[in-house]
């Protein structure tokens, strides 16, 4: 049983001290949004999904049992909701302009256009990966999780996670070959 600080806070929330939920939210909301964004490719949808994850965790607080770190539990809920959203939507609107790609970086317009185009190509390639390969990549590469933690979130062995990562990168090499030359 894990007794990280977050789990202790969540236990207090479960016990009726609900004001502590704000602290948990503020500690983890950004990462939950980030994970949902890398899984869904749409910032608005990602915020909605992360918010829903917190709402559901709050609603089921009385049955909370710290079997894993709170962050592991949260990320599982987020990924589960992302999976439901993807199933409903089927196709992520790749062509929709994403605010995160529009930030100004440098003053050279041509270079900026190229960066945005590359970013969109990478986003499309990552989102087109099979869900478990994408999740393995997102957790380890973007969320900077250790292999052990990522494997725990996904409910697979470290060996299986390594295999997923290997396949994800092999697929990305194929999909982005024209950018690698």
């Amino acid at each position: 049983m894990h007794h990280d600080n977050d789990a202790q806070l969540m236990l207090r929330v479960a016990g009726g001290e609900v004001s502590h939920f704000r602290e948990l939210f503020e500690r983890h909301y950004s990462r939950a949004v980030s994970l949902a964004y890398r899984s869904l490719g749409d910032m608005d949808l990602a915020e909605d999904t992360a918010m829903e994850a917190f709402a559901r965790i709050y609603e089921s607080r009385r049955t909370y049992s710290p079997k894993a770190k709170f962050s592991t539990y949260l990320f599982r809920v987020v990924l589960n909701l992302c999976s439901n959203v993807s199933r409903r939507k089927r196709v992520v609107a790749i062509d929709r302009l994403d605010d995160s790609q529009m930030e100004a970086q440098g003053s050279d317009p041509a270079a900026k256009v190229e960066r945005v185009a590359t970013g969109r190509a990478v986003r499309e390639a990552v989102l087109s990966l099979p869900a478990n390969q994408r999740t393995a990549l997102v957790l380890t590469r973007y969320e900077q999780m250790s292999y052990v933690e990522a494997a725990e979130v996904m409910g697979v062995s470290v060996k299986a996670l390594e295999s997923l990562l290997h396949r994800a990168k092999a697929n990305l090499r194929k999909k982005l070959a024209y950018l690698l030359d």
Binding site: M43, R56, D98, R173
Partner: protein, 147 residues
């Protein structure tokens, strides 16, 4: 070190003297390392924005939800294949149970003799006699026949 182990270490981003030595002699693994590094650089080009919402948005969301609304479990949702399997197994069990369990046979219609016994009459003639007597008393029959 074999190429398989070297690639696993490169995938993890592990650096070691053993790996460096392997890379110094293996052109294929060097190419793999360069490609992985380039993919990592490309992955960095996908940027994300900052979240716009905060805790107040969560409170608003919670306040709009009906109390005790039924929701799907947070984690460990039954996969679709398991649901389909469960339904198929239920149908199969139903069919097997239908074949194995003996159907109740319809009860035969009792004969007039059996009815007479059940009504505590000695013979079929008593049934007719009783009916006629009952009919006379009700005025629907005459001793000579039907009115």
């Amino acid at each position: 070190m074999r190429c398989g182990k070297a690639r696993k270490l490169m995938l993890r981003g592990t650096e070691s003297a053993e790996l460096a030595e392997h890379l110094a002699h293996c052109a294929l693994c060097r190419a793999e390392r360069d490609a992985l590094a380039r993919i990592d650089d490309l992955l960095d080009t996908w940027r994300e924005g900052e979240p716009k919402l905060g805790y107040d948005a969560l409170l608003t969301r919670l306040s709009k939800r009906p109390a005790g609304a039924r929701r799907t479990p947070l984690v460990g949702v039954t996969p679709r294949w398991a649901t389909v399997g469960l339904v198929a197994a239920s149908i199969g069990l139903g069919v097997v149970a239908g074949v194995c369990v003996e159907q109740p046979k319809p009860r035969p219609v009792p004969s007039e003799q059996e009815v007479a016994v059940a009504m505590d009459m000695s013979a079929f003639g008593d049934v007719v006699e009783s009916s006629v007597t009952y009919g006379i008393e009700k005025g629907t029959l005459t001793p000579g026949g039907v009115q």
